[in-house]
């Protein structure tokens, strides 16, 4: 317990988290500090390329264990299932229309890559080992939630408007999924020889890129939050309690299937995280009537900071308690 608290404090004093808080503060007080849009996109590319590649090299070293299939199964189940739960809760506690509730639910079924990065950094510092192949599980969890949401919303505009192709491409060929899986395969194929060329880039340079990206995320989250008009108390409560529920659900499934503690912790973090890149873009095509003021604000400006600062140490401690 004391140890958990100490680790949580260590998490808080990491440059990455501190720069996120700096960005948040600067955004909240309307500083004109901004990261150019092209730069933010490029930083995201570097993050995905690096974590995919590192995961692939590690998977090449360790080989695929049976745990991979189990983790993939749990991940897919959660990505499909969480939106149904989230949709039910949202309809019950808020006055969101059906479409916006479905779109929001999709975000919580999918995952946040930066939360994954921060979470795995924290697990490493805490000395909790997990499989490099978990990167592939991240990619698997990105899109099923979108299908659940479409069913919940009773179909979308994309069909009527002949935009099915765009939607399919957005979902199946989504840039972040392709890059994550692709970089994973590159790492798998080029192995330690490849790593010898890339290790400075995906290691210490990556730390700097992460810090810059989190600074930007802080700015953006704060701006979104302070511009939010449609934020009600029930919605904010949802954005904090839903991740907790999802992580509990995930830990239960992991216990049931006998996953390793490290992989279970990663899955709990992924389950709790909400998408803010892949899913919103898909929603603009699939459900253009849904209100981005709701779903982006909740996932990006409430759930993401919560997970980053409090959630990650919490899910890790819970896993230790349950699996230890």
């Amino acid at each position: 317990m004391v140890e958990s608290l100490q680790l949580a404090l260590t998490n808080l004093l990491t440059p990455a988290i501190l720069f996120f808080l700096l960005g948040f503060g600067a955004g909240w007080f309307k500083s004109d500090l901004t990261v150019p849009e092209g730069a933010a996109k490029t930083l995201a590319l570097v993050l995905m390329l690096s974590i995919g590649f590192k995961g692939g090299v590690e998977a090449a070293r360790a080989g695929l264990s049976a745990d991979f299939l189990k983790a993939a199964g749990v991940g897919l189940t959660l990505s499909f299932g969480i939106p149904i739960l989230a949709f039910g809760v949202l309809r019950l506690i808020s006055r969101l229309d059906r479409t916006t509730a479905a779109a929001t639910a999709a975000h919580y079924g999918s995952v946040s890559i930066v939360t994954f990065v921060a979470g795995t950094e924290f697990l490493r510092v805490s000395g909790v080992p997990f499989g490099g192949y978990m990167v592939a599980v991240v990619a698997l969890m990105e899109t099923p939630a979108i299908l659940s949401a479409l069913i919940l919303a009773g179909g979308g505009a994309a069909g009527r408007q002949g935009l099915r192709g765009e939607l399919f491409r957005e979902v199946a060929l989504n840039g972040s999924v392709v890059l994550l899986i692709g970089a994973f395969l590159v790492g798998l194929l080029s192995g330690d020889a490849g790593m010898s060329k890339m290790e400075v880039f995906v290691g210490p340079v990556f730390q700097g890129v992460l810090v810059l990206f989190l600074l930007d995320m802080g700015l953006v989250a704060a701006r979104r939050l302070s511009a939010a008009r449609s934020l009600t108390l029930p919605l904010v409560a949802f954005a904090i309690l839903m991740p907790l529920a999802s992580s509990v659900l995930s830990l239960g499934l992991s216990l049931l299937l006998g996953l390793s503690p490290g992989n279970a912790a990663v899955l709990a973090i992924l389950a709790a995280s909400a998408s803010y890149i892949a899913v919103p873009a898909a929603m603009r095509i699939a459900l253009p009537d849904a209100d981005p003021g709701v779903y982006l604000t909740l996932s990006l400006a409430v759930t993401f900071p919560f997970n980053l600062v409090f959630g990650i140490p919490l899910y890790t401690a819970a896993t230790a308690a349950l699996f230890g």
């Binding site: 901004t34 990261v35 150019p36 849009e37 933010a40 505009a157 009527r160 408007q161 002949g162 935009l163 765009e166 957005e170 953006v220 701006r223 979104r224 511009a227 803010y276 890149i277 919103p280 873009a281 898909a282 929603m283 603009r284 095509i285 253009p288 009537d289 209100d291 981005p292 003021g293 982006l296 990006l300």
Partner: protein
């Protein structure tokens, strides 16, 4: 120097549907157009600002010089489109050189 009367179409739509609208233009017989980026905007569906992490909400302005008939065909097609998607369209009078290009 000889000028011909043509119509100018200006259509603002969201980036993810840009290719779809470009397809409408091509089907309606538009022979040329130019797409401009935008940085911010406001409308019935709310405000947005590039850099504020509003993926999918960035707008594009499509600028096309066309004949009156082509303009009509495009607008008819767009009426349906705008029933579901945010955006606006406007048409105005212009004069162009090399009228046969349009």
């Amino acid at each position: 120097m000889q000028l011909s009367k043509r119509k100018k179409l200006e259509i603002i739509v969201e980036a993810p549907v840009l290719r779809r609208v470009e397809a409408f233009l091509a089907e309606a017989g538009v022979r040329g157009w130019t797409v401009l980026p935008s940085l911010a905007g406001s409308g019935d569906s709310g405000e947005w600002r590039s850099g504020d992490f509003t993926p999918g909400q960035e707008k594009r302005l499509i600028y096309a010089l066309v004949t009156t008939e082509v303009a009509d065909r495009v607008l008819t097609r767009l009426a349906d489109f705008f029933a579901d998607y945010p955006g606006v369209a406007a048409v105005s009078d212009v004069e162009v050189m090399r009228g046969d290009k349009f």
